[in-house]
Symmetry: C2
Subunit: 126 residues, 2 copies
């Protein structure tokens, strides 16, 4: 952990920073969650993703009750320091609905070339 680097992270007026969570193996975007400084410290200390639940207003170790934990593999922040990206080893599914990814509601889809999505399909198979 690099304290100097952590200074580059800008928490918002509520003390939170959004975290994009991506499966390091399948590359699927699983969810967007939020961290406060305490959740970030705990994640870095334990290697297990810990978020701040905005609805319950408390720390939330992902998978603590469901068993669907996320092990941190890489953690980065963006050019203006107001978003994190975590690439994780997802155990089971990420979404509380039982879906693998939280992003299962599709609004629009362009006519994509036939090759698009093949990689996810392959990952689903292996």
């Amino acid at each position: 952990m690099n304290e100097e680097m952590l200074k580059g992270i800008k928490f918002d007026e509520k003390g939170l920073v959004p975290v994009v969570v991506q499966d390091v193996d399948t590359h699927v975007v699983l969810m967007l969650a939020y961290m406060n400084r305490e959740a970030l410290d705990k994640t870095l200390e334990t290697g297990q993703m810990c978020y701040y639940s905005r609805s319950r207003q408390c720390l939330w170790v992902k998978g603590e009750t469901s068993g669907n934990t996320q092990r941190m593999v890489t953690l980065s922040y963006d050019c203006d320091g107001d978003t994190l990206l975590a690439r994780v080893k997802q155990k089971g599914v990420a979404c509380h609905t039982g879906n693998y990814s939280c992003f299962f509601n599709h609004i629009a889809q362009e006519d994509a070339p036939a090759t698009s999505g093949i990689l996810e399909e392959l990952y689903g198979v292996i």
Copy 2:
């Protein structure tokens, strides 16, 4: 465009919703941006990603000045309707710094197995 589906999207108290932007070909997470309802409508109408700039407080068609446009391929929203995921065809780089992805500041990295990242490397080559 499905008006019924769009009702499932929850804009926050500022009228914004965060959008995770992922390259549909390389699967790299490029950036997190924000949309208001107008930006969402414009994106769905034109197929080109349009965001709301929180700093400039105006609509912002991605790549309008730089040429680094993003064509929408799929657009989804998450289980609780407060985040969008856009998978896009990225022209050039996504970040204003000249980096391909905005997430180039690395905080932490677990000792990853040797296979991790190979896919991105392959995509970088082809």
